[in-house]
């Protein structure tokens, strides 16, 4: 899975809880919850959707790593690569 595909999965996960959000609406380095107006319930549903689509196990200790779009991208890239090889 290359970076483009991972990015798309993240966007889809966001749209699962915030249907009207598009990729160019988001500043990749700002707090994702502010950018997409997600409350704690939305944030959990967003992470649950990501776990389902990427197959990567995400536990409570990893939550801070999803504070911004880029951080989420980085975390997923590392875990997907380690899983593949």
């Amino acid at each position: 899975m290359n970076t483009k595909e991972i990015e798309r999965l993240v966007i889809e996960a966001i749209q699962a809880v915030a249907p009207e959000i598009e990729q160019n609406d988001i500043d990749f380095d700002e707090d994702i919850r502010e950018e997409c107006d997600l409350d704690s319930m939305d944030f959990i549903n967003y992470l649950a959707a990501l776990q389902k689509s990427t197959g990567i196990k995400i536990t409570e200790v990893d939550y801070p790593r999803f504070s911004t779009f880029h951080n989420a991208l980085a975390f997923l890239k590392i875990n997907i690569q380690t899983k593949q090889n």
């Binding site: 699962a16 249907p19 536990t59």
Partner: protein, 424 residues
């Protein structure tokens, strides 16, 4: 022997209600014969001669030209030779009273004839040709209606809303004919759906404003709040969520809901409805949650029998309900059971909300609890000051049902329950 008779404004046409006296052709004291023209009247058909129907002497001209008066107004009087005319006059006057009596029976006939529903008027019992009594007719109507018992009777607009909002109509008692479900039966459940061209737009704004206005106008609200330390609750959550996936993650709100549910068992007066000027205790504890929608407006689905659910079950139900509520635009739906008979409401704006939230009660409920956002505050433990987490619990209650003392006891009992999260 002579007799005086009134000469009145004649009715000359089917739709003539008044006439204009233009000219008298006789004067008082003139002798006249049956058929003589005594005056000229003006009508929409032009000038018409007015005849006298008796032989006699004109005694008085009561109305002077030019004057428009209703039909029947006395214009003049005539003295007639009673003898020959007598039998006829008397019978005419006698018949006048009689006709007035028969007239009365006519109006009586119409009023006593209660305005029977049109079909009943015509439905005649074939054998006797007497109109069927209303019971007989309703019997015949019921017979053929009840045959198709399986389908739920509902008006087309209700069926459309139910289809779009996936409402289960069999659960709803219809107040329409033969128990059919009609708009007003589902009005409380859904925001009054206004079907516009090309599909359903839930008319949130008008529904919310209608409920809020009714509440503010009718319910005498009073407000209490209590700051509650939630250190213990947060610690419990941390342990519970340790290396749990997002699906199993539990948020503080689930704990708060369970605590409220258990406290309501001790203080049932806050959990019920105020209808027809009296309080009606609810038999279940169904807690409605105010969920704000991305495009503005709110939906208030309810969790049923919260006191019987575990905290993880509450969290799971809440997460799913919030996801569906916020994705209504893309086809998600709420179940009708979720939108029915909530017994109390919670409003919680979470970490980006306000410190204190004094809500407006959703009629016919009698209370609403608002949870402020969690704040780090200095707390006094013994004689030391410590940093702890706290939130303010606000209660709006209906003074017709609840008094201040009871409300305060409820809040304190709730606070105590939150200090032992493991027992929730």
């Amino acid at each position: 022997m002579t007799k005086s008779i009134d000469i009145t404004m004649p009715s000359l046409g089917a739709d003539m209600t008044e006439g204009m006296l233009v000219e008298w052709l006789i004067k008082e004291g003139d002798k006249v014969q049956h058929g003589d023209v005594i005056a000229v009247l003006e009508t929409q058909k032009g000038a018409i001669d007015m005849e006298v129907y008796h032989d006699g002497i004109i005694t008085q001209l009561l109305l002077q030209p030019v004057n428009t008066v209703p039909v029947g107004t006395v214009l003049a009087t005539i003295e007639v030779i009673a003898a020959a005319e007598d039998t006829e006059e008397q019978s005419l006057n006698k018949s006048k009273q009689q006709s007035s009596t028969t007239e009365k029976t006519v109006t009586e006939q119409i009023t006593t004839e209660k305005i029977i529903d049109e079909p009943a008027l015509l439905l005649a019992d074939p054998l006797t040709e007497k109109p069927l009594t209303t019971t007989q007719q309703s019997h015949t109507q019921k017979v053929n209606i009840s045959t198709n018992v399986d389908t739920v009777l509902a008006s087309p607009v209700v069926r459309k809303i139910a289809k779009v909002q996936k409402l289960d109509l069999s659960v709803i008692k219809g107040s329409g004919p033969n128990g059919a479900v009609i708009l007003k039966d589902i009005a409380q459940i859904t925001q009054k759906a206004v079907l516009t061209e090309g599909g359903l737009l839930t008319n949130m704004r008008s529904a919310i404003s209608a409920a809020m206005t009714k509440s503010k106008q009718e319910i005498p609200h009073f407000y209490l709040s209590l700051d509650v330390s939630i250190n213990k609750a947060q610690q419990w959550l941390q342990q519970a969520n340790h290396d749990k996936t997002p699906k199993e993650h539990i948020l503080l709100i689930a704990l708060l809901l369970k605590a409220v549910a258990l406290t309501l068992i001790k203080y049932p007066r806050l959990n019920g409805f105020y209808r027809d000027d009296c309080f009606e205790q609810a038999s279940e504890i169904n807690i409605a949650n105010v969920i704000s929608l991305r495009t503005g407006g709110v939906v208030v689905p309810a969790l049923r029998n919260v006191e019987q659910l575990s905290v993880p079950e509450i969290m799971h139900a809440l997460r799913d309900m919030t996801r569906r509520s916020r994705a209504i635009e893309s086809g998600e739906r709420l179940r009708s059971s979720e939108l029915m008979n909530a017994t109390i409401t919670i409003t919680n704006m979470g970490e980006r909300g306000a410190d204190r939230v004094f809500g407006i009660i959703y009629p016919p409920q009698v209370a609403i609890i608002g949870f402020g956002k969690v704040n780090k505050v200095p707390q006094v433990c013994g004689d030391k000051i410590d940093i702890g987490e706290q939130l303010t619990v606000c209660l709006s209650a209906d003074h017709r049902v609840v008094d201040g003392m009871l409300a305060a006891k409820f809040l304190n009992s709730l606070a105590k329950k939150l200090q032992k999260p493991e027992q929730l």
